[in-house]
């Protein structure tokens, strides 16, 4: 048992971080999809990573997919990345990022107007005034959409949770009040420590679910990663004080996206009920 990243996985993660940091700025993002970036991600193998080499993919597995989605979550990459990834090999052009694919997910469809292909029954979808300015949303009347991609959403939530923890720590070291950095106060320290605990617990769950490929493991990972992303964003906002409540800081974007993702893939209610039911059967 060696439950650690190997050298190739570290390199993959570092490469994806470098690509996204060099190419994407949250400051410039809008609710219009950046198709050039989408194609660049396709060229870098983001969407085709799990496809067999014979189908133009790289033949990697779920652990590698989780690592790149963690990076996407870290920078709050906009767009229906999970649905497009899952459509690679099924919908022509999805693997290369030429086609933007979205899917009906529970009661919601993200990025409906920007997508080239919609999977699932989206008839009668009505637009919402989305809480997340970087994720346009439609709502469908018959909430019986696909339940897929829970682990990839969980990976994005993990990336966001790690990022807001780092952001809070950086701010707490820099911002001074009462003659010292606010990070020297225990009340602030303890908020930050709890953020790390949530993120690391979610990381263990997400990575393990990627290795086992087990559905229940994925439900547990989604539950904990949703929790880590939402609560870390809230705590990060709190550490930022008044600045955290403004559009000047990015913190609110992490919180809003975390709320959106918590409704996608597998909701907390569904995951909790599923895990509870499995307890009855456990040996």
């Amino acid at each position: 048992m060696d439950f650690q990243l190997d050298d190739d996985q570290r390199a993959l993660r570092a490469g994806m971080r470098q690509l996204l940091e060099g190419r994407f700025s949250l400051r410039d993002a809008t609710d219009r999809l950046d198709r050039a970036l989408w194609r660049e991600l396709g060229e870098a193998g983001f969407f085709s990573l799990a496809l067999p080499e014979a189908e133009g993919g790289v033949g990697l597995g779920l652990p590698e997919a989780v690592l790149v989605f963690e990076e996407a979550g870290r920078v709050l990459l906009p767009g229906p990345a999970v649905a497009t990834f899952l459509a690679a090999g099924v919908v022509p052009g999805a693997a290369t990022g030429e086609a933007v694919v979205t899917a009906v997910d529970g009661a919601l469809v993200p990025w409906l107007d920007e997508a080239d292909v919609v999977q699932g029954e989206a008839a009668g979808a009505v637009p919402l005034r989305s809480v997340d300015p970087l994720t346009p949303l439609h709502r469908v009347p018959d909430a019986g959409g696909l339940d897929r991609g829970a682990l990839l959403y969980a990976a994005e939530q993990l990336g966001s949770a790690v990022r807001t923890c780092e952001t809070a720590v950086q701010y707490a070291r820099r911002r001074k009040q009462f003659g010292q950095p606010i990070g020297a106060f225990q009340a602030v320290k303890h908020l930050c420590a709890q953020m790390l605990v949530r993120a690391e617990l979610a990381r263990a769950a997400v990575y393990a679910a990627a290795v086992t490929g087990d559905r229940l493991d994925a439900s547990a990972a989604k539950l904990l990663a949703d929790d880590a992303a939402v609560r870390n964003a809230r705590d990060c906002l709190q550490v930022h004080g008044g600045m955290g409540f403004t559009w000047e800081s990015d913190v609110h974007l992490h919180l809003k996206r975390a709320w959106v993702r918590a409704e996608l893939g597998r909701s907390a209610r569904a995951a909790e009920e599923e895990l509870a039911e499995a307890l009855i059967e456990a040996p």
Binding site: Q180, L196, Y207, T212, E272
Partner: protein
Amino acid sequence: MDLTYTDEEEAFRAGLRDWLSLVLPELPAKPSPQDWPGRRAYDTAWQRLLYDAGYGEVHWDASPTQRLIFLEETEKAGAPYVGANFVGLLHAGPTIASEGTPEQRDRWLPPVLRGDEVWCQGFSEPDAGSDLASLRTRAWRDGDHYVVSGSKIWTSHAEVADWCELLVRTALVSEAVPKHRGITWLAMPMDAPGITVRPLRTLAGSTEFAEMFLDDVRVPVANRVGEENDGWRVTMVTLSYERGTAFVGEVVACRRVLGELAREARGNGRWGDPALRRRLGRLSAEFSALWRLTQWNVSEAQRTGGVPGVGGSVFKLRYSHARQELYDAAAEVLGAGSLDLAHEWTLDRLSSLSYTIAAGTSQIQQNIVAERILGLPKGR
């Protein structure tokens, strides 16, 4: 990333399982949790069985993965926990193994491994708990002895111990000697004249720890582990073991209890409550993740080949609270039955209250995580 075990590790697991299935049915009944002399006899007998079967050194010499397998399988099989051997096996033993002289290792380690001798922990004092470095029990040199006076509290297993891992002050605090310096780690025989032990009754009714009064107790200088005034560093080695590996088997136990809770709720009609189901479902995710975090930490330790790191604090912070939430959920499942001390879950609920205090309170752990992992400044 890999969660599979090697053939060698699987063979170790299979051998252990076979052995457990042979010896466990032959064990006598467990003594009452309040009966510490009875528990000492029971726990040391179990240690002797492990020793004779070749598992005596599993906490020290085995690879981290083997240790993990050992804890997982013994817990799954319902084997006894280390109990009265806790300080010797998981605390003083590893410390002596890494910091002691060859003579000290020969003197103290074999009896611990055989279950012949039991250790207690003399760290905390009435005014030095979380701020352990401010301890005041003094030791003066008199020839080839230290003469020790002072008092200790929360001295785990003192009632039944043969030896005490004792922290004493050997240099007065001054500008030249900050409080973390001037501390020395001693192995004190518990039958030395001048030691008075007064058991403390915990809120769970047990006397697992005690107050200890030391009145000119003579301890040979040869019993000093590490250098004089270097006891703090030696202690940090000990504490990293305590936080790093001490709770691993319990996570497996908590996952088992969670299944028992669900089936109990199904049997007594509480399962129809969606709030309870969701609460148990969430706890299931938490304990699964704590197990995965354990595997992550063990893999990291195996790679670096080192002592468990501060990552143990991250684990302990969440685990100690999750354990309390587990037994609160048990109380909800049991209803009025949760007030019955005859029920094992009721005693476990009471015991779990210590988890956020012992081995460094949650607040201290949060400071450790914030300062040593996240790099936040020290301060108020």
